[in-house]
Structure formats: structure tokens, C-alpha cells
């Protein structure tokens, strides 16, 4: 896909000549093993410009937060002032326990920022990766995430997810009169901004898997019914998706971004529909007296998982993408909600409602292999990182003494390890992870 030049971040990316033959023996992590140790990695402040130190901080933070890496504190480094274009003193790095070493050089070239970085396999004593990027100077944070993604991919063999954004619902004010706005930030919490004005409640943002666009639901002015909107997060351009007599809500894009599945309520009954984004044609997918909502397409676009109370309680069902062939897939104790198909196709994540607690879990698309990853008083609304390895969701603490419990975002690896809170400037719910941002 061609990206307009003004939106491009990386003007140029080239491989650096290897200073030694690449080695593939030591600097890897096998994530299929039930327990694996994080890779100890040393990331030296990039040389040549003040922003180099900040870039190294962003990269350390990304890799450390993934749980797959352990960033060695820079204070313990023996070799300082490492030259990015020469081999490091490997024994110095082995003795601080590093398996990998990242060094970089920042320079200004014709008003642009040029960043060279190298990843060294310390154990083998060889270069594992080396790339050079040129971009506008204000893109240094994105370049840092792109470098962290390159390191992640080189070590794990899987695509990274650090050069991404998260849309979510920012919540402020008292619980019984709360302002809920759609906000967007980088995946690490930087560059937070608001994309709805807060005059009416805006909920359930969902990212396009192909573009920097979201769909969400917002209430109308003066008690107007909730409707679904499509909004470009960069330009801010917003369009109404359908003007139906009742409430339309729970939108979600198809994997190719050309369709949006959503719920429509008419006369108190909620069914699933699919809209063609370009032609705006609407097709009905379910027709039952039950609540059918929270649709999510399979990664290949051929099926939709959703939740329905047609059997008496909320459970998960899978059907053909055009409707029909509905089959229940959840059979454990409790109620199941908000199913989300992994972009890799191997799992469906969901919210589970049990007696006094809620859980976030995953199961195979046929319903087998159910596994809870996190639970709490109220945890809800999983969303997948584009590589299908990490889930983000929200966590609400109980209200007490007339005061609202805090609501915040959390991320967790699909192994159930490395749960951590994601920083947001306000209370936050309903995260939606973007695809990798086009370079």
C-alpha cells in the first residue's frame, strides 16, 4: 500500500554492513516452551545526540514490558561510550550477564534524523542485526519502537507490536455522571490525545486491522440514540455508519477492513448485522429473540464469533461470516462475553463472568483448551496485539464508601505471565489495539 509522503515516518531504512558474520545460535528465545527465561539484554544510550538517551529508554521499556527480555540496568555497564560502528568488548558484556547488546548512533543529516543501530549476540561474539533509519527528527519515539520491534523479531522470530497505538475510553468525573471520551495513545502510553469531545458518551472503540481508523459508538445530543461512527485517527474525519431507528452499537471491523459487523436493537431485541463500509449496504446476520452482540471476525474473515443469550445465559457462538451455521462453543461454568478472535487465528479471547469475579481467558476456536489468564472483581474487554501474543483489557476495582473504584488498562502475555498495568492519564476502559503503523 502506498502511504502519502507526509504520513511516512521512515524515509529510508537500510541494512548496515555486518561487522562480522551473523550468528544465530545464542540470542534466541523459544516461546513454545512452558517456561522460558527472559533474555538479558543491555541497551546503551545511543551516541551522537541528546535524543539518543531517550531513544534507548523507550527501547528498554518496550522490551522489558514484553516480559520476554530483561533490561540490564545501565548503571552496571562496564564498557561505556561504545562505538556503534565497531565491535564491542564482548567479555565486558558477558560479565554483566548480557546475552544481547544494543548500540546506536544518532546524527543529523540534511535536517533529518539518521539512526544506526546494531544488535550484538554477546555469547557468540557476532552481530545479529544492524539497520539504519532516516526520518524527520520529531519521529524519534516511533523510530525507537521500530528498532524495538526489529530486536523483538530477531530474537523471538515473531513480528513485534511496539510501533502501535491503543484507542480506549477515557473516564473522568463522578460515576453517576461520568464523562467518557475516546482517547488514543502510543502502546507505551506516550502521545495521549482525545478524539471525541466528551459532550456525549462515547464507548467501545475498535481499530481497523488495515488502516489508522476506528469505529466506536456514541450517544446523540439531547437523548439521541447511540450510533456507530467511523473516524480517521490522524485526520479526525468522522462519518456516521447508518442511521437506524433504534440503537446501533458493538461495531467491529472485518480483517480486510471493508466491513463492519454491529448490533442493532429494534423493539428491545438485539440482532447482528454487517455493513459494507464503502457502499453502506446492510445485511442481517442473525434473527432471534435473544441478545446477539459483541461480534468478532475470524482472522481469515470466513467466520464470526459473538455472544448470545439464546440458550438462557450469555454464551459464545461461532457462525459463518454471512450468517447461518451458528454453533455454541463455550460450555464451562458461568457466562461468557466479548469474544475476540486472535489475528493469528489460534485463539479466541473472552470475558468470563463467574459468581463473584470476572476473568479474561482464551480458548481454541472450537471451544477446546479454555484457559483463564487473569481474574478480578471486574476484568473485561480483551483486545489483541497485532502479533497475537499479548492481550490488553481493563480492570475495575470495587466501588466503596460512595467512591468509584479505579478503572485501568492491563496487558498480559497469552501464557498468562507478565501482567502489568498500562499507564493512562485518567481512568481508562475498553482498549483497542491498532495494527502495526504503516512505515
Amino acid at each position: 500500500m502506498m502511504i502519502p509522503r507526509h504520513l511516512r515516518t521512515v524515509l529510508c531504512a537500510v541494512a548496515l554492513a555486518a561487522l562480522s558474520a551473523p550468528a544465530y545460535a545464542q540470542l534466541t528465545i523459544d516461546m513454545t516452551k512452558p517456561s522460558f527465561e527472559p533474555v538479558p539484554i543491555a541497551i546503551v544510550d545511543f551516541a551522537g545526540d541528546g535524543v539518543g538517551g531517550e531513544m534507548a529508554t523507550v527501547i528498554r521499556n518496550d522490551l522489558q514490558n514484553s516480559g520476554l527480555f530483561r533490561s540490564i540496568p545501565p548503571g552496571s555497564f562496564i564498557e561505556r561510550n561504545v562505538n556503534a560502528n565497531a565491535a564491542p568488548r564482548f567479555p565486558d558484556w558477558r560479565s554483566v550477564g548480557a546475552t544481547g547488546l544494543v548500540v546506536g548512533q544518532v546524527s543529523q543529516v540534511g535536517g533529518n534524523l539518521k539512526v544506526d543501530f546494531r544488535l550484538w549476540d554477546v555469547v557468540a561474539g557476532r552481530q545479529a542485526d544492524g539497520l539504519s533509519f532516516t526520518s524527520q527528527p520529531n519521529n524519534w519515539r516511533r523510530l525507537s519502537h521500530i528498532i524495538a520491534d526489529a530486536i523483538y523479531k530477531r530474537v523471538t522470530g515473531e513480528e513485534g507490536y511496539f510501533d502501535t497505538r491503543v484507542a480506549y475510553v477515557s473516564e473522568t468525573g463522578p460515576l453517576n455522571n461520568r464523562s467518557k471520551r475516546i482517547a488514543i495513545m502510543d502502546q507505551d502510553g506516550a502521545n495521549n490525545r482525545y478524539i471525541t469531545d466528551g459532550r456525549t458518551l462515547a464507548l467501545t472503540p475498535r481499530f481497523s486491522p488495515t488502516l489508522q481508523e476506528i469505529v466506536y459508538m456514541a450517544y446523540g445530543e439531547n437523548n439521541g440514540p447511540p450510533r456507530v461512527y467511523l473516524q480517521n485517527v490522524d485526520s479526525g474525519r468522522r462519518e456516521l455508519l447508518g442511521n437506524f431507528p433504534g440503537m446501533s452499537f458493538a461495531p467491529r471491523f472485518s480483517p480486510d477492513g471493508t466491513k463492519v459487523a454491529m448490533s442493532l436493537s429494534q423493539d428491545g431485541n438485539t440482532d447482528l448485522y454487517e455493513m459494507d463500509v464503502r457502499g453502506r449496504g446492510m445485511r442481517r446476520l442473525t434473527n432471534t429473540p435473544a441478545i446477539d452482540t459483541s461480534p468478532s471476525y475470524s482472522n481469515d474473515g470466513t467466520q464470526i464469533v459473538f455472544n448470545s443469550d439464546r440458550g438462557g445465559t450469555q454464551q459464545l457462538y461461532v457462525m459463518n461470516a454471512g450468517g447461518g451455521g451458528e454453533k455454541r462453543i463455550s460450555f464451562g461454568d458461568g457466562r461468557y462475553a466479548t469474544p475476540v478472535w486472535s489475528p493469528r487465528g489460534d485463539y479466541i479471547a473472552f470475558t468470563k463472568i463467574m459468581g463473584n469475579s470476572f476473568g479474561i481467558g482464551v480458548m481454541r476456536p472450537d471451544g477446546s483448551g479454555e484457559r483463564l489468564l487473569s481474574n478480578g472483581f471486574l476484568v473485561e474487554g480483551p483486545t489483541w496485539a497485532p502479533n497475537g501474543r499479548v492481550l490488553m483489557f481493563f480492570k475495575q476495582q470495587p466501588n466503596s464508601g460512595g467512591r468509584a473504584g479505579s478503572v485501568s488498562l492491563s496487558a498480559i502475555d497469552i501464557t498468562g505471565r507478565f501482567e502489568r498495568q498500562v499507564p493512562t492519564p485518567t481512568d481508562a476502559s475498553d482498549p483497542a489495539w491498532s495494527p502495526l503503523i504503516p512505515q
Binding site: 436493537s265 428491545g268 455472544n307 450469555q314 470495587p398
Partner: protein, 152 residues
């Protein structure tokens, strides 16, 4: 009868005001509930009904309230109304939007059955987004599972 009730309410207010000289700001003098006003509807009829967990059928106590609402709405036929449907926090956001719509619709249908024209009644679900009571206990949840009749 309705007038007598309104006067009784005013008298009660005046009595309370007289008993609490230090709290006059809380009960401004001259407060009256005009028959046919929104305040009259809220205080003397009752603007809300409550639901059982994950249910949307109107309970017996709710039917009594809705019968009174229907009588009042027939007398003051100039009002358009919106039924707001609400849920407690023990469900997911999207499902609760649908459940709130079901609750609002069940109140609407009850009022229609009592003779209120369908064209006067709209519904609007707030799911779990607008609790009446800020609490995470059975008592708070019971009051948040509600249908509220608002007048326009």
C-alpha cells in the same frame, strides 16, 4: 385527591423546614410541587422501577408504579416520554447496552398496554454507564437495575 396529596407534601416540607432552622438552604422557602410538573411525577408517582438480576420482566412492585405512571400520563397528555434502561455493573458493557434496551422496552410495552400511545414513548439504554448508586454490593446493584421514565 391528587391536590390533597400535593398539599400534604407541601405541609410536610414546611414542617421539616420549621424543624430545622439551621438548614434552610436545603429546603428553600416557597418550594411547591406543581401538579402535572416533573417534580410532581417524580415525588408523587415515582419515575423508576427495578429489575431482578439479568431479567427484564416488570416485577409486581414495578407494575404498581407503572399503573400510577400510566394514570398520570393520561391526565397530563402533553408530555412525550423516554424510558431509560439501566443495568448493574456485573455484566459486560455491550451486553448490558442490549439488556438495558430490553428493560426499557418492557416498561414501554407495559405502559402501552395501559393505554399510553406508543408514539409518545421512546426508549434509550444506558447499559451500566449511568448507575444511580455508587456501590459494589447487592443493595447498590439492585437499585441500579432500573427503568426510569423521563418527561420531555
Amino acid at each position: 385527591m391528587r391536590m390533597i396529596k400535593a398539599f400534604a407534601a407541601i405541609a410536610a416540607l414546611m414542617f421539616i423546614a420549621a424543624c430545622s432552622n439551621n438548614e434552610q438552604a436545603a429546603a428553600p422557602s416557597g418550594t411547591t410541587v406543581t401538579p402535572g410538573s416533573v417534580a410532581d411525577f417524580r415525588q408523587n408517582v415515582g419515575d423508576r422501577v427495578y429489575f431482578d438480576t439479568d431479567q427484564s420482566s416488570v416485577r409486581e412492585d414495578g407494575r404498581q408504579t407503572l399503573n400510577k405512571q400510566a394514570a398520570w400520563l393520561k391526565q397530563y397528555a402533553n408530555y412525550q416520554i423516554t424510558i431509560e434502561g439501566h443495568c448493574d455493573e456485573r455484566g459486560t458493557r455491550e451486553y448490558n447496552l442490549a439488556l438495558g434496551e430490553r428493560r426499557a422496552t418492557s416498561v414501554r410495552q407495559y405502559l402501552i398496554a395501559q393505554g399510553i400511545p406508543a408514539a409518545r414513548i421512546k426508549t434509550l439504554s444506558y447499559g451500566k454507564e449511568r448507575p444511580e448508586v455508587v456501590g459494589s454490593d447487592e443493595g447498590s446493584w439492585a437499585r441500579n437495575r432500573r427503568g426510569v421514565t423521563t418527561l420531555q
